[in-house]
Symmetry: C2
Subunit: 243 residues, 2 copies
């Protein structure tokens, strides 16, 4: 059976403007590899309701799971919940269990549970809450769309709450061999090896360091013994390479 | 007149697998801001011809420009040119001007111009070459799709060759105010300010540092005087904040 698939959707004006780099994508990609969910696509869209809704609908139809990051806080530019409700054609209202979690949190912290904070209790109809042990305001899953905060600490905590509830597949293993020769030299024998081990994914990721050309050859697959076999053949082809 | 728009498409098994982080997106996002081309979306797809072709077709219909990164080298997994030719429904053949550039480069370097390297002279019918002053192998533009290498040094050199040929718009300016208070406190007055300055984009990007909640408020727009005015109002609302 093929592994479940996933897409990540990042609501990210601050990334599209070149101001910041995303941290959540890289983290979640690593977690998904471990549990055997194949990440097929990442999209970063601007903080516009129509853009988010369109991406949610395209990705939830294409993948087993969609994970979103960002836009569920209390400020005027936090519109991800609205966009997801719109994408599913369901209503978005204050939900009592989410409201109670937030009320208890602000009561403990001695902070006012004001109108902006109450906004974070709005949930699309039919959503399941995703626990947020850091700042209380829950994320949510609606069918196969999992909506999480963008602040990296909170995103990671929500991922930790959510992933154990999902059904994974075969974890993906990989090994890397660095070859300090140009890809033009490597390409012929590497292509023949990729054909022979067509059950594995063999990627060549070139680099230039101090004017010297090289490539990291990454062999990926679900069967560690097959990866070992391919790596042994690769190392024999390029005996000067460093594992 | 609204600014031209752009999307970035990254061919990125090595990013989707969590092995590496992208560097090209962040670089190009910053360059586009400077010349007034609005980056609307980034997609990262796997190294599969159908996935690349589908993304190229979706993005070239939606944006003024599409910039791609990765997958144009000499190895078996370099299939971006094939995918772009497929997306446009045109042929992909060795082109004499590209072949001559590569032949001269390998002649100068004393390296064999072998079959793998000749693959890099294949261009979709109708493409314009993008100069590569680093490793010679050209990128190409086909209509509004600009296909560039993934190695960061080469990607940047190709961007430097390409961008002066594109028509930009009004550069986007921004200013940031860091406020060391939770978004729940900021949200009310900030939302009112965003309504008053609806010609600007006002974003709130929350953070947690050592358990303390805060947010960077970023005000973006094409008119620096309007940004100054909004920043002055924001600073007056939150007198303890640090610019």
């Amino acid at each position: 059976m093929p592994n479940p698939t996933a897409a990540i959707l990042i609501v990210g004006d601050e990334i599209l403007s070149g101001r910041t780099r995303d941290a959540n994508m890289h983290y979640l990609a690593g977690e998904l590899v471990r549990i055997g969910i194949d990440l097929k696509e990442v999209r970063i869209v601007s903080d516009e309701r129509a853009a988010i809704a369109a991406a949610v609908n395209a990705l939830r139809a294409a993948c087993t799971h969609v994970f979103t990051s960002g836009g569920i806080g209390p400020t005027h530019d936090d519109i991800t919940a609205d966009a997801v409700a719109e994408a599913f054609g369901v209503s978005l209202d204050i939900r009592e269990d989410a409201r109670a979690i937030l009320a208890a949190h602000y009561d403990r912290s001695g902070l006012e549970f004001n109108a902006a904070r109450k906004r974070m209790a709005r949930m699309p109809e039919g959503a399941q809450l995703i626990e947020n042990p850091i700042s209380a305001a829950p994320g949510f899953s609606l069918e196969n769309v999992h909506v999480m905060a963008g602040v990296p600490d909170i995103f990671r905590a929500m991922v930790a709450s959510l992933l154990p509830q999902l059904t994974g597949g075969k974890p993906l293993f990989s090994q890397t061999l660095r070859i300090d020769q140009g890809e033009g030299v490597i390409a012929g024998p590497l292509g023949a090896l990729a054909e022979e081990f067509s059950d594995l994914s063999i990627g060549s990721y070139p680099f230039i360091v101090n004017g010297v050309y090289g490539a990291n050859i990454v062999i990926r697959g679900t069967d560690p013994a097959r990866i070992d076999a391919a790596m042994a053949r690769l190392a024999a082809l390029f005996p000067d390479a460093a594992p």
